[in-house]
């Protein structure tokens, strides 16, 4: 019933008064002429009202005449007549066109792209490769050939082993998998030495193959030979080449320095602020402010981006941006030296602790000094590390 009513509204309908000696005759003539009508209301024996489609009403006059009835149009309704009334309302038509374009764009164009599953390959690289193949924000969904795109991208980015594009409405989800690193298998048949890669004092030296060049307690520098692949056979007084292998640990030192300018500036907020709003639509930005210049000479800016998400977590391609500018003034101020020194020392010690590569770093010392109004803090530490790298002999 609702569908029928909607159909009648779309095609347009009219309400008429039928007057005559026998309105029933008029109804029968209409049926004979193939004209359908509905909602027949009895008013008097000689007067009834009915509804019919606007198209059928154009052919009704001869039928009424032949049935000996007169017809009077009382009401018009439907999209046909409404649209005629709205024909001169240009803003409304423009709004309807914008809405139609919006619906079309939401369903036909890719407006957002999410890349998932990456670890080492940057998503920007993947998006750039897709863009080179003609797929990006603004591309028509119907033009995307996922299979062809996959083949092209996998050839272009060899680090990827898997690539799929799933498009839901205007949102594209790119799922990638990267190839695992193939471990490098050392060729033990080639002669090689072990060379120190840092400075330290050897604490453990276990040589499996080759001829050891250092002992426990030896000081080694970066580049020093630790184990030689050239082995002297003492009994035969000959030499042989081998692929050196050893576990060598050494006490190594770490150092980190932090500095701060003592003639600093202090920011003091003035309390004045300026708020601006903008709408982000894909690549486009619509500013809701006229003056694009910066509101203050010195300011801190905080941007908030409010995005809308669908129930499946995918984001819609538009967002409201709120930018707040807080004005401040600067004054020269001398910071508290002791406080700054403590902060610097803590920062330097944290840097040293981070250089331990997993092993415990013991603090050896801390030095704080001032040169040319610059406060320095240097921390040193010590840890036991495995040293030595294998270098093939030429």
């Amino acid at each position: 019933m609702i569908l029928k009513g909607f159909h009648n509204y779309l095609r347009g309908s009219v309400r008429c008064d039928v007057m005559g000696i026998h309105p029933e005759r008029f109804f029968n003539q209409c049926v004979k002429a193939g004209i359908a009508f509905w909602d027949i209301c009895y008013v008097t024996p000689n007067r009834m009202t009915l509804s019919m489609s606007a198209r059928d009403f154009r052919h009704i006059r001869p039928v009424a005449r032949s049935a000996g009835c007169t017809l009077r149009l009382t009401k018009k309704r439907g999209a046909l007549y409404t649209s005629r009334r709205l024909r001169r309302r240009y803003a409304l038509l423009f709004g309807a066109a914008v809405l139609a374009f919006f619906f079309w764009a939401m369903n036909s164009l890719i407006l957002t792209i999410d890349v998932t599953g990456y670890e080492r390959v940057a998503p920007a690289e993947i998006l750039s490769a897709m863009k080179a193949e003609g797929v990006g924000v603004g591309t028509r969904v119907s033009l995307v050939d996922a299979s062809r795109l996959r083949n092209k991208i996998l050839l272009e980015i060899p680090e990827l082993s898997w690539f799929t594009v799933t498009i839901r409405g205007s949102h594209a989800v790119v799922d990638v998998r990267e190839r695992g690193d193939t471990p490098e298998v050392p060729d033990h048949s080639l002669p090689a030495d072990i060379v120190s890669d840092r400075t330290g004092v050897v604490t453990i030296c276990r040589v499996f193959r080759g001829e050891g060049q250092v002992e426990v307690g030896s000081l080694v520098h970066e580049g020093d030979l630790l184990v030689s692949g050239l082995v002297h056979l003492r009994l035969d007084e000959k030499t042989m080449l081998t692929h050196a292998s050893a576990d060598i640990y050494a006490r190594v030192w770490h150092q980190a320095t932090a500095a701060v300018l003592l003639d600093g500036e202090t920011k003091v907020p003035t309390g004045r602020k300026s708020v601006r709003y903008a709408l982000s639509l894909g690549k486009f930005r619509i500013n809701f402010y006229k003056d694009g210049r910066k509101p203050f000479d010195k300011y801190d800016k905080i941007s908030n981006r409010y995005e809308m998400e669908l129930s499946d977590g995918s984001q819609l391609p538009f967002a409201l941006i709120r930018e707040t500018y807080y004005e401040y003034e600067t004054f020269r101020s001398a910071p508290d030296e002791q406080e700054q020194a403590a902060l610097l020392a803590r920062a330097a010690q944290q840097l040293v602790a981070g250089q331990g590569e997993g092993s415990v770093v013991s603090n050896l010392g801390l030095r704080v000094w001032i040169t040319d109004r610059v406060l320095y803090a240097r921390a040193t530490g010590e840890s036991v590390q495995k040293i030595g790298v294998t270098v093939l002999r030429e």
């Binding site: 029933e24 109804f27 049926v31 004979k32 004209i35 027949i40």
Partner: protein, 90 residues
């Protein structure tokens, strides 16, 4: 009359639906408020108390209160209202 009987017999023998083989209206009554008359029926009289339709020699009279022809076209008509009786006359 003899022709009608022959066609009636024939439609029964061939197990054809009567409304398809014979020139009679088909009535579909739903509850007391809805009656659907299909077939090429002619409206003879219409008032809120009475709707009279005919096809060839068969005449159907629907009596009731607040009767209203909801829709009508060459396929038939739908009558809504409180139906009291349906009468047939040859």
């Amino acid at each position: 009359m003899a022709k009608m009987k022959l066609s009636q017999r024939l439609s029964r023998a061939l197990e054809l639906p009567a409304d398809a083989a014979l020139p009679v209206p088909r009535l579909e009554i739903t509850g007391r408020n809805d009656i659907l008359i299909t077939g090429k029926a002619v409206l003879l009289e219409y008032s809120p108390e009475l709707v009279r339709v005919a096809r060839d020699s068969c005449e159907v009279t629907v009596r009731g209160t607040d009767l209203r022809i909801c829709a009508m076209d060459k396929m038939g008509m739908q009558v809504l209202g409180l139906i009291a009786s349906v009468e047939f006359r040859e």
